[in-house]
Symmetry: C2
Subunit: 355 residues, 2 copies
DNA sequence: TTGTATGCGTTATCAG
DNA sequence: CTGATAACGCATACAA
């Protein structure tokens, strides 16, 4: 409301507020952040009024340096543009704001060197928490250094939480890929399917491996499992991408699909690619062959037929990570989030006896 | 409870490094951040060695307070989980990292009160830049206060950039909705379409209005426009959502679609909803009727037939925003990003003469 | 080239 | 309850 009389470009400091209110900086500080209740209400009122009049905002860096601790949480993700990570980021942001924390975000871009560099400079921020989502810890070289770096941060009083990365010596929240795939297998069995193919990625990709294993475990757990009942699914290895799914489905068709009633692709984009490949080959998804994926990305609803999938609680993962970070170090068990099967038109119930 | 001593070591300070290297803090500071070249190479080497040995990282808050400026850019978005904003965030992050800046992110969640609150506390961070993406400035009440707040920040030396918000007194980068829709209209005309319907949102939504207007402008610019050639498109108002698109298409079918060859929905999710509605009504998209959208979301590729759309350079918007923020205040013209038409199977070329 | 001293904005300590 | 004043970790005039 009050226009600046002089083009003063420096933001007001606590000193200015104190002077305006006619008290000392100490009193002003106390009145503002209420570290101690012991300030006369009249003075408190005047300080608050002065702060409002000057449009004062405390200098967070100064507070950090004086208090010896910040109110920030650092989040490093592989790629924010990826819905997978942006959902996680949304969860983290939500929980952080609820806790009155500021979140700083860095994008590792799939490079472990970059990731290491980020964690290093992050330590300079002295955040209360570092959350790493989607770390690529393949290169053993950077892996060791990253762990060291993170551990140094932790011994300095910081909390670190990993998301979807269970084999690191830090608190972890992960999605139950195995259980989700197992449940999917059972749901398909209950829908009447008996003969399956699995489109999976190379075994070095843990996510794919877990889902593949879980699916097979689900099949084996079926009462009628064995030579006479549910057979081991046909396994086709391919890339973890839409193109990979397309190619694998094409190969499956070439091989012959007489003995396959349903196809499980270890993620949705692969499943969607596979559906297109089937259609291109004259095999109608949902009618001639059932298709299921994993992740339950938004597109799963947009394809025809709508894709059966396993919903992964990504936002929840972000929330849990923050929750984990804010609980006492000791009693903070790792979190495993359940994935939920979502049946849609791509896997219609199969009439018993139909062949 | 008393804090337990977990071998919790305080992070090393510049003091520690200096002592380890046997020099003064001043020399250590100079050697590390090279503010002045005047440090004996032998000492510089020893300081760097000491820093490495202690795993020292400068305290960013302390640097900020000493230098009087931070190296951070604050980004406030409506919703990170939304691909629209996460793409923008990715662009901002990329450009920020290239410039050696740290990005802090806050989610406004569609609430202008929350947005205002965020901007307020953001000022406490003393960031070099504040970027606001997807601001909802409808409530005139908070709108004025927000502008004041932002202007206070700017007179304090900060830079503010708005994304997709052209009517605020700050630097802005926006997508050329009008031009994109106009180009789309021309492309459809060139493909042989002459009779159109537009599925749009209420006029209070500027994005919808701009696209609608642009589309009509494109039709009018056609040589054969007029009663004998291209007629004004049928306009159907609905919600800016998938459900809105579905409903509008249903209404269109009820009304009769004999006089409509192509439908333009002002965004992709509406278009996708419309495609489903058409199919449900026995009208095959891409064959019986053409459909086009706007935004070119990833799902546009996943639907059948693939959806013709207008690609919006979201990541580029983020990059441009940072670029704009880092250029001199004076010569920083607003940026308008071109949107690119992408023709796909949902609008196949139409044989001349076919009716 | 190096060290000393001072300041940045805030909180915390410790006398009044 | 309040006000000096000493930290906090770092950068930088100024002096040596």
């Amino acid at each position: 409301m009050t226009a600046m009389e002089h083009g003063s470009t420096a933001p007001p400091t606590l000193h200015d507020v104190a002077r305006e209110a006619g008290v000392s900086v100490a009193t002003a500080s106390r009145a503002l952040n209420g570290s101690a209740r012991n300030v006369r209400s009249e003075n408190a009122r005047r300080v608050r009024a002065a702060a409002a009049k000057l449009n004062y905002e405390p200098h967070l860096s100064a507070q950090a340096i004086a208090k010896g601790s910040t109110r920030t949480v650092a989040l490093v993700v592989r790629d924010v543009a990826d819905p997978y990570f942006s959902s996680i980021a949304a969860g983290v942001a939500q929980a952080a704001e609820a806790a009155g924390l500021i979140v700083t975000m860095a994008v590792a871009d799939g490079s472990s060197e970059r990731e290491l560099e980020i964690v290093r400079t992050l330590r300079g921020q002295r955040p209360q928490v570092i959350i790493v989502a989607g770390s690529r810890v393949e290169g053993a070289g950077t892996r060791g250094v990253l762990i060291e770096e993170l551990e140094a941060y932790r011994t300095a009083g910081g909390r670190v939480v990993m998301i979807s990365q269970r084999d690191l010596p830090f608190g972890t929240v992960a999605v139950d890929n195995h259980g989700g795939a197992r449940d999917l297998a059972r749901a398909l069995l209950e829908a009447g399917y008996r003969r399956f193919a699995v489109l999976h990625a190379p075994g070095s990709l843990r996510t794919s491996r877990e889902r593949h294993d879980g699916f097979r475990a689900g099949l084996r757990s079926w009462p009628g499992a064995g030579p006479a009942g549910v057979a081991e699914p046909v396994a086709i290895e391919t890339a973890f991408t839409r193109a990979g799914g397309y190619d694998a489905a094409r190969r499956l068709v070439e091989r012959g699909i007489e003995d396959v009633e349903a196809v499980f692709a270890v993620n949705d984009v692969m499943a969607i690619g596979a559906m297109t490949a089937f259609r291109d080959a004259g095999v109608i998804p949902g009618a001639d062959i059932a298709v299921a994926g994993f992740d339950d990305i938004p597109s799963a609803l947009d394809v025809v037929p709508a894709l059966t999938s396993v919903a992964v609680p990504l936002r929840e993962a972000g929330l849990s990570a923050m929750r984990l970070a804010l609980t006492d170090e000791a009693d903070a068990p790792d979190v495993r989030l359940a994935a939920r099967v979502v049946l849609r038109e791509s896997t219609p119930p199969r009439q018993a006896g139909r062949r």
